[in-house]
Structure formats: C-alpha cells, structure tokens
Symmetry: C2
Subunit: 231 residues, 2 copies
C-alpha cells in the first residue's frame, strides 16, 4: 500500500507513520521542515525501505507541486492520502479575531487539503481501492457545537467537512472513497494533557476505520471508533 | 430601528433596503463602490432622511473600521446587522480549484461577516432587541449537500453557519440574537433566471422571519419561509 501523509513530523501524523510502517507499506511522510523532524527521521532510519521523508508546505502551492514531482518519480499510484496537517489556535471570541490568523487557519485546515487532493488525484485514480481521509475534528460538527474558544478552528473543520462531501460525490465514479475522520480528543500538544485518549489509541482506531471503508461510506464523517458524527 | 446592511448596492441587499425603507427605519446601506450604486442612490434620493450610503469594502479591515467611525458619528446603537455581502463563483471541481479564488470566497463569505460583527458589536449591544443576520445559503447545509458546482461557495457558507453558532452562544447573555438565514433560490444575477422566487418574495419572507425572532431562536439556520434548515 502506498500512503501519502501530511504533517507527519509530530503528533498524530507521526503516530500514523509509526503504526503504518509495521505493515507492508510505502509511506511518503511529508512535513514542512524535514531537517527538524527528528522523531520521523528515527522511524525512517529504522525502516529506510518503507519511509520517504518529503518536504511539503501545505500552504504553498509551489511546494505542493514540487512534492508531487518528486513522489511521481518514486511511484505511479497512491492508495491512501491522509490530509492530516492542521493548525489549532484558540481564540477568545469577538474582540480577538485577527484577520491574518483567521486566514492562516483556513489556508491550512480548509484550502490546503483540497489543493493536495487536486494535485495528487491522478496517482489516487491509479490506486487500489483508493481512499482520501481528511482529518477533521469533533469541533467541526455544527450539530454538536455549543460554543468554544476555538471558533475559527471549528468553522475551518466544518468547511473541510463540506469539501469532503463534494469531493466524495465527484470521485465516486472513480471508485475513490473520501471521508472526514475525527481523531477524538487526544493527548497531543494540540489536545493537551487532560484529553481522553492517547495518540496510539486514536491512530489505531482511525486505521481500523480506514481499513474497513467501502465506497458506500464515502462522504461520511466518522470518529476514531467508527461512529458516524452528525454534521 | 437602526439597520446596517452590507452589499446594499444590488440584488438582495438592494431589495432589503427598498423594503425596509418603507418602515420607520434608519438604514446604513453599505457597499464597496458607492459612486456606482445607482439604484441605491435612487432609493436614497427618495428617502434622504432614512438612507445613508456608506463606503465599506468587507474584505478590508481598514475600510470596516473607517465605516464604523463614520456611522458612530450618526448613531450610538444598531438594532439589526444584516451581513448580506457575498460572492458566489461556480467551480468545476478538482482541476479547477484556484488558490486566489478560494481565498477570495472565504474572505468575503466567511471571514468578513465575523470581522464586521466584531467591529460593530458595541453598537449592537446598545440596540433594542438586537439581531445579527448572516445571509447564508441552502448550499451551506451539509445534511442536504449532494455535490454541486459551487463547492467552495458551499463550504464558505457552512463555515459561516458554524461562526453563527459560536457567536450566538457568546452573545446570548447580551440579549443579541444571531442567526443564519437563507434567501431561497432567487432570481438575481447570482441565482439566474430559472430560480424559484423573486427578490421581492425572498426579502419579504426573510424580513418576516427576522421580525419574529426571539432569543430562543439564536444560533439557528432558517430559510426565508421560517423553516429550520438542517445543518
């Protein structure tokens, strides 16, 4: 299985690599600053045949196309794309909204995954039962929203969920599954110490969900246990 | 009643002004290029005491704050803010996504309404049963989405809906109602000739909905007939 994952240097992205690498996979582990991705490099040194570390700044279209040209020399097909890179910044609601922060959050969390899918779609079309997984958040659920200090993050994930639905419709006839997947509340730098589950549990759950997907699941919004999250 | 409306030069915004002006209202009708807002100027000439035409480019934070300083000299309170300005651009799905178009749509449809609310919130807090109406779209409903050629527009409105929920929670204790409201499919430049209803019908319906709102409706997503739209 050929997998491309963004934001693979730390947190959930790194844990995806760690768990996927124990299977028969070829992983294109992308991140913005490979030279600083020390933990990822350790995994790569342990599995040099399976892990390629690729430079990719998801907010830079030139960087997206450069990564594509490089990966294109290594493979002709992708079976799984995990749009994992994201930023979570707390806000204090009205009075604290800052234009450039709002734009950054939407660029990384909403626009970038769509651009990456657009760039890599031909490799995915040649994949085996190809899947696109957009890492969303429980905070992206409008039905469950009840006010929080992450309103811009939250709306960026709702927007990503909508993009997921549209692409699922568009790609159904190509046999490509597209879903939004929430990791749960995870003990990472982003989730903090009080979170519910470890990165190991979250990723193990998400990989089970991804593994079980069929085309009829496309366009859905799942959590790491496989439960449907209401929009 | 003091009303601020964005994108008042044409389409639904202009029709809001035309219908509101027949009531006892003071309307701050904003648009990006007042010098070209000929139809709005005609309304203003007919009701010079009720309509002020104000320059406001919703994508420019300096312009937002300049409009505020001007309006602040004319009134100390706002009772209704209608975030109507928006752009709808069709896309052809994957292969046609263009970074700068995506950013423009999100800037106008998602970020700008939040910045305008942030700027004007003190005037709204002094309003009488104040209401904030974010003009959304049926295409912003994730529950109803089934693929369309307006995917970026659609996700920008889903994101606006999420912002609406968060602000509704934040402003409930100030007694401010915040809703997302869809105009229906309207015969405008945006909606085209085949649409269901006229601008007159849409605006009359939306004004009835706005008029009937109480604080318990805050955070909801209505259509122009007063029906709840599923998220």
């Amino acid at each position: 299985m050929n997998v491309l994952i963004t934001g693979a240097n730390r947190g959930l992205g790194l844990e995806f690599v760690k768990q996927l690498v124990t299977h028969d996979t070829q992983i294109f582990a992308t991140c913005r600053v490979p030279s600083q991705a020390n933990q990822l490099k350790q995994v790569q040194e342990q599995y040099p045949e399976r892990v390629s570390i690729i430079n990719l700044d998801v907010t830079d279209n030139t960087s997206i196309s450069r990564s594509y040209k490089l990966i294109r020399t290594k493979t002709k097909n992708l079976d799984l794309l995990i749009n994992n890179a994201g930023i979570a910044i707390e806000d204090g609601g009205l009075g604290t909204f800052d234009v450039s922060t709002m734009k950054s959050i939407l660029n990384v969390n909403t626009i970038a995954p769509l651009l990456i899918i657009q760039q890599y779609i031909d490799l995915l079309k040649r994949g085996k039962q190809p899947k696109i997984v957009n890492i969303s958040s429980g905070l992206g659920s409008l039905a469950r929203a009840n006010g929080c200090h992450m309103s811009i993050y939250s709306l960026s994930k709702a927007a990503l969920n909508m993009g997921t639905i549209h692409l699922a419709h568009e790609l159904k006839y190509d046999g490509i599954v597209v879903i939004a997947l929430t990791p749960g509340w995870v003990k990472t730098d982003m989730g903090g110490e009080n979170a519910d589950i470890t990165p190991q549990e979250s990723i193990a759950g998400m990989l089970r969900v991804i593994d079980s997907l069929s085309l009829s699941d496309s366009g859905s919004y799942y959590d790491h246990t496989g439960e449907i999250v209401p929009w």
